[in-house]
Amino acid sequence: MRKLALSDETLLTVEKPARYIGGEVNAQEKDITKVDIRFCMCFPDVYEIGMSHLGIQILYDILNRRTDTFCERVYSPWMDLDKAMREKNLPLFALESQDPVKDFDFLGITLQYEMCYTNILQVLELSQIPIFAKERTEDHPIVIGGGPCSYNPEPIAEFFDIFYIGEGETAYDELLDVYKESKKLGESRIEYLERVAQIEGMYVPTFYDVKYKEDGTIESFTKNNAAAPDKVKKQVEMNLSEAYYPTKPVVPFIKATQDRVVLEIQRGCIRGCRFCQAGMIYRPTRERNLEYLKKCAYEMLKSTGHEEISLSSLSSSDYSHLQELVYFLIEEFGSKGVNISLPSLRIDAFALDVMSKVQDVRKSSLTFAPEAGSQRLRDVINKGLTEEAILGGAMKAFQGGWNRVKLYFMLGLPTETDEDIEGIATLSDKIAREYYTIPKDQRNGKVSIVSSTSFFVPKPFTPFQWSRMYTGEEYIAKARFLRDKMNEQLNRKSIKYNWHEAQVTVLEGVLARGDRRISKVIYDAYKKGCIYDSWSEYFDYQKWMDAFESNGVDIEFYNSRERAEDEIFPWDFIDVGVTKQFLLKEYKKAKGEIVTPNCRHTCYNCGAKVFGGGTCPTIIPDQTNEEVQDES
């Protein structure tokens, strides 16, 4: 029988002990005496969140396919267990073997959002691994980070030995093969890291020095070790249609946020929204093969027993075989009690047909993400959705019996004016007016419109990476202004307006575009008690502000400054394919309110063609051609 790391007494005094016992359906079991490498994969948030993440499931499967490697999982202990572990000095353990993480060869941490940075420090500290990479010895695991936030790893650079810049399918084998070889030769930690630095996509922060100018911006970012490359090149899996997909995902006992089979239908996005980091860093767009997805759906439902299946991608409507796939799922599994959960689709005849088949029209809602309230601002951000399309789609749905609409917007986008903000209120109202054009006896009661705004955060590797971000006060003023405008609308009683917290946004801005000098702030904030910052019940803005102040780090420098065109960014050493030159051109087009059509329509030579595939055309337009298009 499996032995657990925690005593009955501890498990029975914490909330949801099932978070810590492992042994779930499809969890791996391996004989630890028969493996060479022990890898612990971490999602630095609570179990239910971490278990819902597809990326970890993919990596878990890939690593465990190797017979010489045992990949296990660890998540952030919830606050009750965190306290108990500190009091009793219990080391954090991996779920499968229940062995201490500190005894592993690797600790891999996925970086999905900035607000989990303090939880990384929690995981390291509870694991009894030194928080700062430079303090680790030959006895400690190699700590490696990856995922979206590794596209600017600098704010957390001091806590990691390695960052992997790219998609998990490609580089882990080499990382582990080199590790075995290095071990066999009895090499030191630093010698191993020198070998790692030579693997494409691997970034070893300690091999680089940063110098700053008097004004605080970066003067130079240079390597200090000959083994390290000048630029770290993003790695992508180009053969996605046949790339391995985990058909036996782990099934948690407790209800996870994603309690369903998730099918990744494509990676990347052709749309090129200018605020969207994922749309740039996952270029080029690559689709998975339809027949392969059908096969995966079968196998995954069979191996997990899940009652629901959903599709995952940045823009499902752009998947070429979407109709065929969705109708297949409905016909094949709908009758077997499997719910088909639809991703956000462009509202058209197909979407409405599918929705009416899989959802209760009276209870479900339509979702639109116009992101900005006016056509002018939607052109700035290159969001192709028009008012006509929204109203047309909504009307079709209303005629089909729907009466609930959800709208998502951002406040604080570059060039935003009061009119743009007011546009959010008037668009919400117009949708309601559209509904009430239907004769009373033909409509389904009152319409309900929920408009939500988040605050815009400029992200690295987007055209808006140069952009000034608003302050917390400015954001709140914008939300209040909009609330007042909402209250002026004719159909105000049918519209509900929600907005996000501004303080978290400010912090997210600093962590997203910060440099190495932020590491100390994160460390101090953690030491003051900051943790689970993405959970409003734990987020403590004042502690963060104190940590910034005691380190003499100015938030305005990172957030409230329009950055110069030639400024060296902390993340410039990463080559994501998409060039800085393209992003700058896009930023200028944004200011000129000029839209850029999607990748399938026209290639604008963003740079992702270097990967040779996906939606990128085989013949790339030359420079002159591109200039002509720009002017049109």
């Binding site: 009955d8 007494e9 099934v251 006992f253 009652e307």
Partner: protein
Amino acid sequence: MKARIKFQKYGAMKFIGHLDVMRYFQKLFRRAEIDSEYTKGYSPHQIMSFAAPLGVGLTSDGEYLDVQLLSCDAPEIMVERMNIVSLEGFRIIGFHPLLDQIEHQKVITAMSLVTAADYMVSLKDGYSIQGISTQQEFKNKFNEFLAQSEIVVDKKTKNSETAVDIKPMITFCAFDEEEYRDKLQTFVLPEAALPITNQIVGYNIPIDSVADSYENGIRIYLQVDTGSASNLKPELVMEAFYRYLDLTFEKFAWQVHRIEVYTKDDESGKVIALNMLER
């Protein structure tokens, strides 16, 4: 058609709460491709009901759940199909298709007619009770405790605390397996009196108890009232025992293991295990 499934719950799975056990079985049935009946509507779900939900931290040899099926294989095959896709800690040990619903109304509604359950309560290793170091000493003290004319405890409900005499809610107790089986004959219908033996009874598969055993050997077998009419948790008996000894109750010191769940047989006045009803 309805079928009654009997299963064991043990090891690390004792930390899985009742609602998650339900989710576990819903997914298990799908993995085993069991032809469950679903509710109608946009979010169909399987129709199932559990008898006397087990608390977190308890292990069991006798858990029951009823399912509604459209078709099924022979019981032995059903048990095997389910165990192949089950985990260590959940073992299916019985599958009983239930007979004609109208004729056997009592069988069908038995889940809500639970009246009693057997438990084994063991002192975990690493814990001790002051003044008691052997099973004999424990037995003597416990018999003294039970010899009281009444055992009044404060029973907490959502809104209030009331003083209740729990003595009538304890059918019998025993201090080793032999004594337990002997006493069981008196209170349980004969053919159902062998719940933890290796004998094949009906569609049950041979089982060994999954109860954890501890070196100190201190343990007690109890049959207590269970169900909506009258319900006594073994933990409450132990707490009362500590109070009798004038000691502070250590709730984590005891491992509670459920052995069997019963309903009352009106004719004989005895109790009968839930999987014996249709025989």
